[in-house]
């Protein structure tokens, strides 16, 4: 049964042989949004997607504790079979209000939000058009759907337009799926152009704002808000596990009859609902996100500082400054050595290997938090520069060219 994993296990062993297992890091303790202890050593966290740093927000913790004391540790069942708590409804209404949508549905994870939504929205004879760099949860949701699935070139509205033209004579609904910020490189979708293609073709549009909620837009509603195309987005998917510092997912929409997904999205129907503690902390985290726009400012400033620091050190960087900073690696071996080198220097990042990465190329991925201090970013940049120089990853000719100016 398990012999099919022989090659995978050998590959994993090879990756782990260079030092620690990049996919099995077990912290002794997590101390704050930016610090942990690993094998007795203090570690700076630069790979947690904790964009607003809310995992240790005092009010969120207090509300989660109070909800646990009052309502228990778990719901022990699904909403449709075992009942809904008042908190579930309150969170859905709060989320809908925050997003300016008629209604919202919450799922137990962000992964399940995509799985449930995509498979329930489309039927046989419909068409799903996915960006080629879509997250695994979107691909898996598409696998569960009975619609015909085609992928368009990453962030290429012209390729999307071409495919919709080819499908125009075919019956069935067409649902375009994009992401606000792509998790590997941190690039954003050209959403205005995609919305234009959507309107031309009479298609539907779903945007996964998992990495952009709380990060982009004047109010933190994501890329659609930032690009002024929220009215073109028919379905907003997102997660509570990044900016909101907990776990869970959602889909929101203005469409009448959207609640039918509660009786058709299997990833909603056949799984236990979120526990009271999570509901309470997310409810409070939305308040914090709304009441503290300076957190987005801090995140932006920290992103620019890290980006500028790495560029100044001579690294070639992919996307523009944003909450995800990825360094393309020349090969898998170097990527593994770089990741281990940074950990040895006390900095935890993410090692991203193909095929989950764009083009299958290895990446050293960092995610920024509003909670990082300038000193912590300085430590991270110094560590990256030291390890990068040792591995020949930085271009000495480029070092200092970018200029480490004080970010706005």
């Amino acid at each position: 049964m398990l012999t099919k994993f022989r090659a995978l296990r050998a590959e994993h062993a090879a990756v782990s042989a260079a030092g620690q297992d990049p996919f099995g890091v077990a912290f002794d303790a997590v101390l704050s949004a930016t610090e942990a202890v690993l094998r007795g050593r203090s570690i700076l966290l630069l790979g947690t997607n904790n964009y607003l740093g809310l995992t240790f927000d005092r009010d969120c913790i207090d509300d989660a504790v109070a909800a646990t004391v009052a309502q228990g540790t778990g719901t022990t069942g699904s909403r449709i079979a075992n009942g809904t708590y008042t908190g579930h409804v309150a969170l859905e209404q709060r989320l809908a209000r925050f997003l300016g949508r008629r209604s919202a549905m919450i799922f137990t994870t962000g992964y399940q939000a995509n799985l449930g939504t995509l498979s329930a929205l489309t039927s046989r004879g419909d068409h799903l058009l996915l960006d080629a760099d879509s997250h695994a949860s979107i691909y898996d949701g598409a696998k569960l759907a009975s619609a015909q699935v085609t992928r368009f070139r990453h962030n290429d509205p012209d390729d999307l337009r071409r495919r919709l033209r080819l499908l125009s004579s075919q019956p069935g609904e067409k649902l375009i799926v994009t992401e606000g910020i792509y998790s590997m490189l941190g690039d954003t979708a050209p959403l205005r152009e995609i919305a234009e293609v959507k309107r031309e073709a009479g298609a539907w549009l779903l945007v996964d704002e998992a990495h952009s909620l709380g990060v982009l837009g004047a109010n933190g509603r994501g890329l659609a808000e930032a690009e002024g195309v929220e009215r073109d987005v028919d379905f907003v998917v997102g997660t509570f596990s990044k900016s909101l510092g907990a776990i869970g997912g959602f889909c929101a929409s203005d469409l009448e009859g959207f609640d039918a997904l509660r009786l058709s999205a299997r990833a909603y129907m056949f799984t236990a609902s979120l526990p009271p503690s999570i509901i309470a902390s997310v409810l409070r985290a939305i308040d914090v996100m709304e009441d503290s726009p300076q957190l987005r400012g801090d995140l932006k400033r920290n992103s620019r500082r890290l980006h500028a620091g790495l560029a100044d050190a001579g690294f070639a960087l992919g996307a523009m400054p944003g909450p995800i900073v990825s360094l393309p690696m020349p090969n898998r071996e170097t990527a593994v050595l770089f990741w281990n080198g940074l950990l040895d220097e006390g900095v935890y990042t993410n090692l991203a290997l193909g095929p989950a990465t764009p083009g299958g190329r290895p990446l050293l991925r960092m995610s920024v938090s509003a909670a990082l201090t300038p000193a912590q970013i300085g430590i991270a940049v110094a560590a990256a520069a030291k390890v990068g120089r040792a591995l020949g990853l930085v271009d000495p000719a480029m070092a200092g060219v970018a200029g480490l100016e004080e970010p706005a």
Partner: protein, 83 residues
């Protein structure tokens, strides 16, 4: 509809343009084993073909493709969407 010879010619042309043509390509050529393409590279290669031929190979059809012959069969099938 495109015939098999035309499809094979177009496939060979794309391989040549992308520097992946290491030798003669036949219907039995394995895309992953003989063309030094990994799974990501194979998808990129098929996407290039889709653009060149102004066609769509849906993901469920992609799952059928292991050899150049499989790819030719998909590209020349009646159910493949094209102009």
């Amino acid at each position: 509809m495109m015939n098999k010879q035309e499809a094979l010619r177009e496939i060979t042309a794309v391989l040549e343009e992308t520097g992946k043509l290491a030798g003669p390509v036949t219907m039995e050529t394995s895309i992953l084993h003989d063309l030094s393409l990994d799974s990501v590279g194979a998808i990129d290669f098929i996407m290039l073909l889709e653009t060149r031929l102004d066609t769509i190979v849906s993901m469920d059809r992609m799952a059928e493709i292991e050899t150049i012959g499989d790819l030719v069969r998909v590209l020349t099938s009646e159910t493949t969407t094209r102009t």
